[in-house]
């Protein structure tokens, strides 16, 4: 009898727990399907240089891969912080995603260049292989070229300290 009386209260508490959990989740934050795997192979031209780069060239040390484009507003927002990170000695590779190379070069001249190098993915094919669904996105790769983390959206100090930096300390 006592059980029957408290059953609705129990059910209500369970519901509250589920709802609180639901509210604290961010449905736009998807884990990358590529976590724990090597970066997909690519062979792309370097921005502002006649060279080509492949996935092999980005091995050897942990680094960030930052997906950016001049049409992407949030990329402009995170750009100053990327410059700051580069100054601290973090290796950042740029992936210029579905953009016009001329505009991209001008962007780096105007705003500064935080990238060790930038490859141009004009068709978006490499972005698709990587699972990019919108810029900006930032991936952490380790020294073996394995994808460790993906952050969708602007990288700022909080994101760096909480999500990205731990991967650099481990190595």
């Amino acid at each position: 009898m006592l059980l029957k009386r408290f059953l609705p209260l129990g059910a209500f508490l369970v519901l509250v727990l589920l709802l609180v959990r639901g509210l604290s989740l961010d449905p736009t934050e998807l884990p990358s399907a590529r976590l724990g795997k090597s970066i997909p192979s690519f062979n792309l031209p370097v921005l502002d240089a006649p060279d080509m780069r492949s996935s092999e060239d980005w091995r050897g040390k942990p680094a960030l891969i930052n997906v950016w484009a001049t049409w992407c507003f949030s990329c402009r927002v995170e750009h100053p912080y990327l410059l700051q990170l580069a100054e601290q000695g973090v290796t950042i590779y740029g992936l210029n995603y579905k953009d016009e190379p001329l505009k991209a070069s001008q962007w780096l001249v105007d705003l500064g260049n935080p990238y060790a190098e930038t490859v141009v993915d004009q068709s978006g094919d490499f972005g698709l292989d990587l699972g990019v669904y919108g810029a900006p996105e930032t991936y952490v790769i380790d020294a073996k070229g394995i994808i460790r983390h993906r952050h969708v959206g602007v990288v700022d100090e909080q994101v760096w300290l909480e999500q990205l930096q731990p991967f650099f300390e481990a190595d």
Binding site: L30, P31, S32, A33, K98, L128, D129, G131, Y133, G134
Partner: protein, 153 residues
């Protein structure tokens, strides 16, 4: 008159809607086109949460539609195309995700809820039966007799 003015005011909105229709693809066979329609209905846009790629205007959906078209024409099976996209974007892109440890509860929830509902119904029925015992019937009969008197013989 007023009705015609109203109708005329609505016309531009109809045109807007027609413009929202997204690009069309040519298919070599009607079967491919039907499969394209089915696939783009059940693949989910990674960027926009609750839209399939057939309805979404997001650039990523346009890319994914192009991939589906290209691979269909190249002779890929539906499973191969879905696998290709799941590899890149995760189970999220499927509106009918496969059964794995993550989706086990999702798939089994209907069955579990059905069993729970049956249990509740069973308990209720059993409770009802318990209340209509011989004693309770006799009490009720006595009450009715007191109210209306004995039934005529």
């Amino acid at each position: 008159m007023a009705r015609w003015v109203l109708l005329a005011l609505l016309v531009p909105f109809m045109a807007l809607h027609a413009n929202a229709v997204i690009e069309t693809y040519e298919f070599s066979t009607p079967t491919l086109e039907a499969r394209y329609k089915a696939l783009s209905q059940e693949l989910r846009c990674p960027k926009c949460q609750n839209q399939n790629i057939a309805d979404s205007n997001a650039p990523i959906s346009r890319d994914l539609r192009a991939i589906v078209h290209e691979q269909l024409e190249a002779g890929a099976t539906d499973e191969e195309i879905i696998l290709y996209l799941v590899d890149r974007y995760g189970e999220f892109v499927r509106y009918r995700p496969g059964v794995d440890t993550n989706t086990f509860w999702l798939w089994s929830a209907p069955l579990i809820l059905f069993v729970m509902a049956l249990a509740v119904v069973w308990i209720q029925i059993r409770g009802d039966r318990k209340e209509t015992t011989v004693e309770s019937n006799e009490v009720r009969a006595r009450q009715l007799r007191e109210k209306y008197g004995e039934a005529p013989k």
